[in-house]
Symmetry: C2
Subunit: 364 residues, 2 copies
């Protein structure tokens, strides 16, 4: 008796799907074992890029400290790890987003390996930068102290951004509204309280214009004799802003989930000389109360930007994860459950577009 | 012809001194070569200790973010590295001082290895904590935002400490007055601008009392199933403050260059159960304009504290470097040129007093 048509289909599907699942399982187990091996570091450390002296007002004294004198502001703290033979690959600089620090790239909220260590294990030198005015980079407190001493009105206080749990939940797209999750969501929501601890005051409003982090990122790329700059969210377009200041050290740009600024033809021409990857996750239009973030509009704006780079002869790619069949990624995709799969996508892109491909022939 | 007496002395001195100098040179060269070897890490990462939710005022909205909601404050960011067989030694927790971050313990201003990596290379698990309200631990900005919105008067603004270059020079004892150095000074003064970049605003005045860092340090020691707590300057007495909250995880205390608080007999009795080392550098009374720091008085107060611990049966030691013939150390002695020699002193103390010595018999 001949099996019905649908049974053949089913058998074929099982024959293909079961080995694929088994293969994935083997790959994951293999990777897990690999990641448990000791990590070998050729060198590690930390340093600063940039920073300028600024004179303090001569009065009043604060906390017993002598009044006046000079402080250093606008510097950018950078920590790094270089694997053995790290010079075989272009170093990667990772810069965090709003209300966060370099912790973004380290151990995930649920305790898995972050991109920082994974990239090192994949043979890349990794540089984590705290944005100027954030975390270990410090910030300029002179206006706060001037208001406290009465020499300046309270209206001049900086707007210190601090995202609440509720705001983060929807901006970071953990679910449609606070407390609700997406069924296919990749963020380890059981550990969301650990993410909340990473969220710290954002003092970018104390910075001069243009943002010194841009100049510092460009200078870091020069210092490293070539680097790939990666930004996320608030800093997502910082690689491009850095390249517009000084493109000489920037060998590639990875921009993750941010609004793309409108660029004029001269700017596009400069940026088109550098391989560029833009990455967006899932559920862009599926959240309510996202505050200042409109991810669908950001995605559309970045589509336009990528097209402009391509039209100018650039090597630019929009990696929209749902189009690759990768579903449920949040805004904090470097911490999502599939974060190392996404890291592999980036590393593959780097290998093909930054390290082995001939330079794109950008139109003058 | 018989050589005169002084010639014999000279010859003996040369015979002894030349091999000693050669020996030191060989030791230093040997260490330099050792430190250039790749570093093997069994595990590394970062996490938070502590932290509580706090409701934000419901108005006004800030920077387009929804008003109200909850934020997390008082958490303590910790990054760590564990060497292979790291469980053979008690982990070491390092906490930085005023107006600084964990950068204190990393690469020195002139680019040499910091205590963080050196301790790992000596087989110790190292945990660097940014104090609660500093750097990657974030701070509570609600009062600043309340003043900005007009609901609270400017007088309630926190006293944001920011040490000027001039203040740091004398408080850190780089020389008697700003711009002048001590002839035997160990601080790499040619790189002082790099130290200035490490100096960031201190927002401890925003913290509740008692300082949550104390509780977080005690909790970290418990989490690690035993740890040595090390503090410096502002945090120099934090190991003791942590032990008074919960001594169960604290296997040793290393307090570097700070005022020692006056302790009552019950407190001394608790602290005397834990091996304690206090370290002070040189030129304690040789600076002018040290501001709130009076190092001679701090040293005297800590001498009293150490004596009190000893009288209570404790294993306590004052390591006053000039008395050991080690001259010219600044307040930032973990960054001084002889920083790894000092690290060896600490590691030897740990080996003898925390790891191999029977527990001190503290009086009840």
């Amino acid at each position: 008796m001949k099996a019905p048509y649908w049974k053949s289909i089913l058998i074929i599907a099982v024959v293909i799907a079961v080995p694929m699942a088994a293969q994935n399982k083997t790959d994951n187990a293999k990777r897990r074992d690999e990641l448990k091996k000791p990590l070998v570091i050729a060198s590690q450390g930390s340093f600063f890029v940039g920073g300028e002296s600024k004179a303090l007002p001569s009065a009043p004294a604060r906390g017993g400290f002598a009044a006046g004198g000079d402080v250093t502001v606008n510097q950018m703290y950078v920590q790094y790890q270089t694997p053995p033979d790290g010079d075989r690959h272009v170093p990667v600089v990772m810069v965090h987003g709003c209300c966060l620090s370099s912790k973004t790239w380290e151990t995930t909220p649920d305790g898995r390996m972050g991109w920082d260590e994974y990239f090192v294990r994949k043979g890349r030198s990794v540089y984590l930068a705290d944005q100027s005015s954030r975390a270990r980079s410090g910030f300029d407190p002179t206006t706060i102290n001037a208001v406290r001493s009465g020499t300046v009105p309270p209206s001049q206080l900086p707007n210190v951004l601090m995202a609440s749990h509720q705001t983060a939940w929807t901006i970071f797209r953990f679910g449609p509204t606070f407390g609700q999750t997406f069924p296919d969501g990749q963020f380890p929501i059981e550990a969301v309280d650990e993410l909340y601890k990473q969220m710290i005051p954002d003092l970018n409003s104390t910075l001069p214009s243009p943002n010194p982090t841009w100049k510092n990122m460009a200078a870091l790329a020069v210092k490293l004799k070539g680097a790939i700059l990666m930004g996320h969210s608030e800093s997502g377009f910082f690689p491009e802003q850095a390249a517009l200041i000084d493109p000489t050290g920037i060998k590639g740009m990875i921009s993750i989930e941010m609004p793309c600024a409108t660029m004029n033809p001269t700017q596009i021409s400069t940026l088109a000389k550098i391989p560029t990857l833009v990455m967006f996750g899932d559920h862009l239009g599926d959240v309510q109360g996202g505050g200042p973030a409109n991810w669908s509009a950001s995605y559309q704006g970045c589509q336009t930007f990528v097209q402009q780079l391509k039209s100018a002869g650039g090597d630019a790619e929009m990696m929209y994860l749902p189009e690759l069949g990768i579903k449920g990624n949040s805004h904090m995709l470097m911490q999502d459950r599939n974060n190392l799969d996404l890291a592999d996508l980036l590393i593959n892109w780097i290998d093909k577009h930054v390290e082995s491909k001939p330079k794109p022939t950008a139109k003058p």
